[in-house]
Symmetry: C2
DNA sequence: TTATAGGATGAAAGCGCTGTCAATGCCGGC
DNA sequence: GCCGGCATTGACAGCGCTTTCATCCTATAA
């Protein structure tokens, strides 16, 4: 005979959440059964007004908060969207996450964000964690998952969206842009302004940054230019400070620099500040272009040129598609690989090369320090 | 007789995670019972080598991922730390969250971050959500929770840490600093440099920003100065761009400005750029100090003075205390209210007022636009 | 009046795991 | 050759909720 549920006095297990009210407590207080309380909370229109009022009162009096774990286990609905990004501090992902929150929260979903810290292994672990939490969909920044991660994702049976970049063989859905193409275009833009000595600096080089750099190298090669000695790629964390440092380093290698393509805006801003510090005029002596087009680019002096990537739109579309799949349970979207492109935003920090004016004074000053 | 578990053909419930392997599947494949698998996964040293090997193999072959929900429900251990911050984009909280992640993840806890978007109601909802998820501790940015939120927190029975500010009556544990005092000190710093016309600009004014402003006003009043017409407080989102705008607005109200205290560094950077644009020399014509001392302050040209707040340390200490409580189950720390202070970081954007040189040309130019 | 929807409520089972305790097998020691 | 003790393993109940299906009651039609 199964024993009466409840705690056996003197032999109770270590109680965690002491005295926390549960469904049956509310039910007892309202004088109804537990099922009715459950219903009243989820589909209030299914119970009578009188009962609903009594239950509401009981809930308030007891400070009842439903146990989400039990609910999720019983219904196999977690309302969790799993997200993995490589960084929580990078401005790009900050806005990307904001877009995801904005899209999912109003629809009753929680967004569970895990940080892979630019490591494939940590990403794999994060993915396993999210699968363990039974996330109803998975949104990943990047396309470079490990084999095991791919297997796990495929086995999970939930929609997976890879973003930020275009994949050759997407796991499921892919919304992105060509990082390589964007790197090529940014470099091409500088070349088209008449610059020949175009350098590239990068920090925290991950897969995406690497492909941007490849774009830079291709554009240089296509223009018949040598990019050897014009690249500094650093694995340390990117920051404004780092931008100043790498630019300084570059100046030592290539004092007659004409244009600088920075892997991201932080580096570009740091380089700009360093120019001001050294009296290098931007854009007269040096053209600078960043990447990502963060908020501050437009406000800087001179306003920074950059490459705008559709980070908000990528997140929005990912959310849209995921919600559609979850709703329509199973109806896959017709298009599963979407290229959202990018845009070169030309501002005051880049200008056409003017013969003569630039060369002399700048390099002198640049070397002075 | 309870029916045999398993799906009744033709009448099965809507299956969510089709065919996802569970503990019993692994057990069957390894030829052991489910409990043994559970043990092998959690305390490998408790099972024999042979069994462990077979189980590991089965896990791999089936791509088994434990159902975290079921595990948490059964053990009443979620390993989740609940965190509520008012913004996911503000640089301060970005670093604060990073510190929390760094502290908790290595200890086997997940950090569940919810965004209150500077709204008390949303914060209350976030807190309820976290309680529903049975977070094992709660770390909140700020001290201004609603009454119901406080009740929920007290009823939850888990440690609660309020951070970023010092509370009169903490809910539980409080690690912070005096925002008001910091505002006072920053203003005092400018006054001590000989400035009289000291203005304050603020955006996205929340409780903390308001108290910083009160500090500013008190410092002005204590110095016998009038702060009327020297303050612009804006409720819109803060950004570099906004800094330029508010500074421009302030210039119209107070053309003979000598020093500017910005509510945060983004505004200060925007104001700095605007000065460059207008040919206002910093610090000769105008001293500028920001707040938070974000990374880029030190790199800007001129380097921005700011007020450094111990955001990393607040998070670290909060995590430390929480971990101690969870471990030692019940042993409260002796000190439950910790003041971590702040620091005025004087850099090149602030300087002693020099008679004459400043006044004339600057105001002219300032008014020019 | 009696049959008959249809709305409101409840009883039972089970989601996938873990805690507890009992059962089994094997060792050396007497 | 029997027993205590240790190392392994398994059976069972239950975490707090939802799903399913049965039951009850009232209102309406016949």
């Amino acid at each position: 005979m199964p024993q009466r549920s409840g705690r056996i006095p003197g032999k109770s297990r270590p109680v965690k959440s002491v005295g926390r009210a549960k469904l049956s407590d509310v039910a007892a207080r309202a004088g109804v059964s537990a099922v009715t309380v459950s219903r009243a909370l989820r589909k209030p229109e299914m119970v009578s007004d009188d009962v609903r009022r009594r239950i509401d009162a009981a809930v308030r009096e007891l400070g009842y908060v439903p146990n989400y774990l039990a609910s999720a286990l019983a219904s196999s609905r977690t309302h969790i969207i799993g997200v993995v990004v490589p960084s929580l501090t990078n401005g790009v992902f900050v806005e990307y996450l904001k877009a995801l929150h904005d899209a999912f929260l109003p629809k009753g979903f929680q967004v569970l964000v895990l940080n892979s810290r630019y490591s494939q292994d940590e990403e794999e672990r994060a993915i396993a964690t999210l699968i363990g939490h039974h996330a109803e969909a998975m949104i990943l920044a990047g396309i470079d998952q490990t084999d095991r991660a791919r297997k796990l994702l495929e086995g999970s049976g939930v929609p997976v969206v890879q973003t930020m970049e275009l994949a050759e063989k997407p796991i499921d859905i892919n919304i992105g842009m060509s990082q390589r193409g964007a790197g090529y275009a940014a470099t091409r833009f500088l070349l088209d302004l008449g610059h020949r000595k175009v350098a590239h600096i990068a920090a925290r080089v991950d897969f995406r940054a690497r492909r941007r750099m490849e774009g830079y190298q291709k554009a240089m090669a296509d223009a018949g230019l040598d990019s050897d000695g014009m690249v500094i790629a650093n694995l340390m964390q990117s920051s404004v400070q780092r931008g100043a440092e790498l630019f300084t380093e570059m100046l030592a290698k290539a004092p007659n620099l004409e244009a600088l393509f920075c892997c991201n805006d932080d580096l570009a801003l740091g380089a700009l500040f360093e120019c001001q510090r050294r009296g290098i005029r931007v854009p007269e002596d040096l053209s600078i272009i960043g990447f990502n087009d963060l908020d501050y680019c437009a406000s800087a002096y001179p306003a920074l040129s950059s490459v705008a990537i559709p980070r908000y739109e990528m997140a929005r579309r990912a959310a849209e598609i995921v919600l559609e799949i979850i709703r329509g349970s199973g109806s896959r979207p017709k298009q599963t690989r979407i290229d959202l492109g990018f845009e070169i935003v030309a501002r005051d920090s880049t200008a056409r090369r003017t013969r003569g004016s630039a060369r002399g004074p700048r390099t002198t000053r640049a070397l002075a320090k």
